[in-house]
Symmetry: C2
Subunit: 641 residues, 2 copies
Amino acid sequence: MKHTVQFLPDKRTITVDHGENLLAAAAKAGVYIHAFCGGDGVCGKCKVQLLEGELEAGNSAALTGEEINQSIHLACISSIVSDSTIQIPEIVQSDGRALKSKPKTTRSLSAESLEILVGEWQIAPPVRKLFLKLPPPTLDDNISDMQRLFREIKKHLPDNPEPDYDHPELIRELPFILREADWEVTLILLHGKGEEEPDRIIAVEPGDTTDQLYGLAIDLGTTTICGVLLDLNSGEVVEEGSGYNSQIGYGEDVISRIVYSQRSGGLRILQEKVVYTINTIIEDICKKIIINPSDISYIMAAGNTVMSHLLLGIDPKYIREAPYVPSVNQFPLTKAADLGIMAHPSVRLFLYPCVASYVGGDIVAGVHSCQMHKSDAITLFIDIGTNGEIVVGNKDWMVCAACSAGPAFEGGGIKFGMRASSGAIENFHIHGETFDPMIVTIGATKPRGICGSGLISIVPELLDAGIINQRGKFVRDHNHPRIRKGTDGWEYVIAWSHDSLIGEDIVITEIDLDNLIRAKGAMFAGYQTLLTSVGLSFDDLDRIILAGNFGAHIDLERAISIGLLPDIDRNNFFYLGNASMLGCQISLTDHRRFRERAEVRTLMTNLELSDNIDFMNHYMAALFLPHTDLDLFPNVGRGNE
Amino acid sequence: MKHTVQFLPDKRTITVDHGENLLAAAAKAGVYIHAFCGGDGVCGKCKVQLLEGELEAGNSAALTGEEINQSIHLACISSIVSDSTIQIPEIVQSDGRALKSKPKTTRSLSAESLEILVGEWQIAPPVRKLFLKLPPPTLDDNISDMQRLFREIKKHLPDNPEPDYDHPELIRELPFILREADWEVTLILLHGKGEEEPDRIIAVEPGDTTDQLYGLAIDLGTTTICGVLLDLNSGEVVEEGSGYNSQIGYGEDVISRIVYSQRSGGLRILQEKVVYTINTIIEDICKKIIINPSDISYIMAAGNTVMSHLLLGIDPKYIREAPYVPSVNQFPLTKAADLGIMAHPSVRLFLYPCVASYVGGDIVAGVHSCQMHKSDAITLFIDIGTNGEIVVGNKDWMVCAACSAGPAFEGGGIKFGMRASSGAIENFHIHGETFDPMIVTIGATKPRGICGSGLISIVPELLDAGIINQRGKFVRDHNHPRIRKGTDGWEYVIAWSHDSLIGEDIVITEIDLDNLIRAKGAMFAGYQTLLTSVGLSFDDLDRIILAGNFGAHIDLERAISIGLLPDIDRNNFFYLGNASMLGCQISLTDHRRFRERAEVRTLMTNLELSDNIDFMNHYMAALFLPHTDLDLFPNVGRGNE
């Protein structure tokens, strides 16, 4: 259910989901409310008045009985449960002057775009089950058990070529399964690679188990591994699970993992760790819905090139050394159990192919999921993470690159940076006159740090308020307690220690700003270099698709205003979410869509940016907010200069 | 080199190989010579006179100086080295009467028929090598190592589909092999199943190793396992080796092996034993020509259904129980190393498909080798061994059966039966008047026992001489020291203890004769049942092909005269030798011929004889020498009745 909320006096309206936090809704609407502590109902600053509609509010000692009678609420602990009108109180200075914060333009990306991008798919998974009742052998009909099985399959699938089987255990078990099950068995059949290729029998189960057919999609992240269990009979998600990649103890990023893999036994340890994490997820999921791990009939996974190498136990050594060559980009269909994964011995694990050392299977899965390979539209596909992978192209051609953007958007290299979890500042406004912050945190708790979308809120707000300049340097002549010189140079205090969960001041420093500018500069230089390489410019782009968790909460206007995204028609931006996982889910559900992944990979040509002069030039020019070439950002205000 | 030898006074001539033993040659020519001891130059009975030509003779104290001057030689220690004329002395009885033995009609099968049967084949093995020099990677060309390899393959094999690879070790090793070998490597490529299917890369070796390409053919016998190493570049046999199947300690025949396999751990032990034997053969062969077992790039094997199951570790339990169902008849292409065979981890072992529990891959390989599946000629293919497998058909249809003939032709169930090895009586004549034997043994030593071809010589000779009747019973009224009642009933003394190597009388008993008659009766009933099942008779047969070691030395006339083989035009008999091994060798050399094996197997329909009324009737009628229905043997003399 959706509700429309109007904020007075500015008459800004926003439509939000039922139960949305009022403070977060105001922030999204671009409305400033005093909110220093992120929302714990403690500081009592974020008082608003409910004029129409209804709010579900938590208790707080910060409100007097009179305030409650006047329908005054604390925004941070209020949930929107109907269409409402909310009055934001004016801030009155000691000199009696009312300070009114100017509302900001914000724009979030709609999740409704998903269906348009990914299209329809059938429930026709790469594995399927077939129940058979075999006639028992007689002296007149004593063909081998396997032939008896094949003959019966042929009756049910007359147009299929004779199936194949490759698992020696199957031959060994078959006679006993058949006789114990009184000649009534269920086959698990794996689709052949092409329509012409025979199916493969990967398992035979006693009795009729056709109603139990599960597949697991795995997003194999450097930091987090997610699993989604699909019922392949209905195509529906039945359970999800995730966990930190246990390799983290051996290095935070792919480079440190490669370094560790070069130590004696290191490769084996890293493989064991990722397998351990996958097994933990499988166990968790299976426990929740009370199935056995061996009931999973197919595993579809995607990860970056290093993660893919490590999962398969392939040495990633040369990925790190120029000229950055992976051992292999197309991985064979592996038996999951051979890797140590808790699975039936015959179950296959498919790992999406990679394109290059730093454009991995996660990107291929993402591009695959949104069908760039079938569209005329010239698309810029962006996955912002540690690396920042980008793809430009359409159904006829694609170029791609990794930008080495660095981990700023994941909280890396930022003094109080953190991942998008509870306590992370994810939205932020600043009062144009008082320079006081409005902090919205994940989980509506006191703030613990700043996540990527928080960073993309903070920087343009500081720029807009004139606290920093377009080079990301603090304007030295403000005399305000929140703007100060700290141990790491100039900084802005986002939350005082008493308003923070960590008991110290949460600040953003000039070094943080520098890292952010380098990161967004690398991304932008990447877009330009790829486009130039194919003789195109931003004007030629029909659409931009953002993938990755990062894109979920960012404010499009702000991201453009700092030059992280190009300044094109906002209606041409789409948000895809965890596209890597999406690709795996689609492939797991529809084997015809699955087959198309080969096409995607073949279309994609990697451009190596690490030694590219063009890229370096674009990068230097992009180290500015939003850019040294302001003609590239016609719709972005000129800031405070 | 061949020589023609004429024996006087009967003017019988025979053409033999250079170096052939004179006694053996005489026996083949149907000429009787006194020879009680099989040939050791000791008894001095086998004196002959050289009239023309030359003989290479061993020394013997049995000849006087005068005899030597008269060119008298002992046949048993003389070798034929030129065209010769030999005078056989008359035997003069005490009453002065000269006893002249009637020459016998004999006919051996020509090995020259081989080429006609097996046809030509190309040197185009299922594996091949390809040497590649790869351009090292650069920043502008940093595709994965595997893609680099594929790209180079494509340049050399433009018409081939992109090759595939499936061995995870290859992905893991490739980056290091490429760099250590300075980007010059040799691939081992496995042909795809069909022309359309991609080749598979099964190994990459540093440097140029194209001149080393070996394949091993294995005949997987219940008793003996043979290996033939082929140079797959030239198609030539470079080495051979063989050994007793180490499973023998756990049972002499397939049934006792199945029984053992049902004991705890029995299956595993039997698999280990056969693998041990194969490894011993591989080691022996490799030592002889100084190569490494890992230099063998393909292993092609054929064995009966039980041996095939045991090699792959598949439980043969249900083969023994009615309705006699094997687990599987078409075996997957297995990695030899997975079975414990000393081989490169990627090397494939192909095992010929079986047709039924008792018509195995050895028979399919045999039929495959002689191209029955391409010929219009209606052929009876016979492999006489423990089981006696027979196939009738041509390119359009084939029926086959196993006859349960029993092991008589391999020496089993015969009191002094033995396998065809040194000291085995392999040819035999009897003097029609004196009833004295002429014994030819393998290795020209004193006799140790009787092998299959010896048995097929002895029985018709006894029948011809009137010593036994057509039911295989001794004619009781002969008064001769060699015909007597022994511990096992009536018997004929073939060699007195002083003429034998084992220090006791070697005899053939009525029980032996009964076993032989049952064995040949089962074979003959098998031919008839198969022919009847497709509405044919012996008259419709265009040819008969004998396979197996057994056929090598048998006398066709005699085999027909006892009803082991049908009485058709002798020119339509062909001898194929170890057809199972031949099939493996052809398949190993020519992958197009190899592909045809699927056709062969599909054509063959098994007829189960164990419960077949028709078969039982034919069998009962065949328990007679040659047969109760003498119309089936128009060209065989009516014996002594």
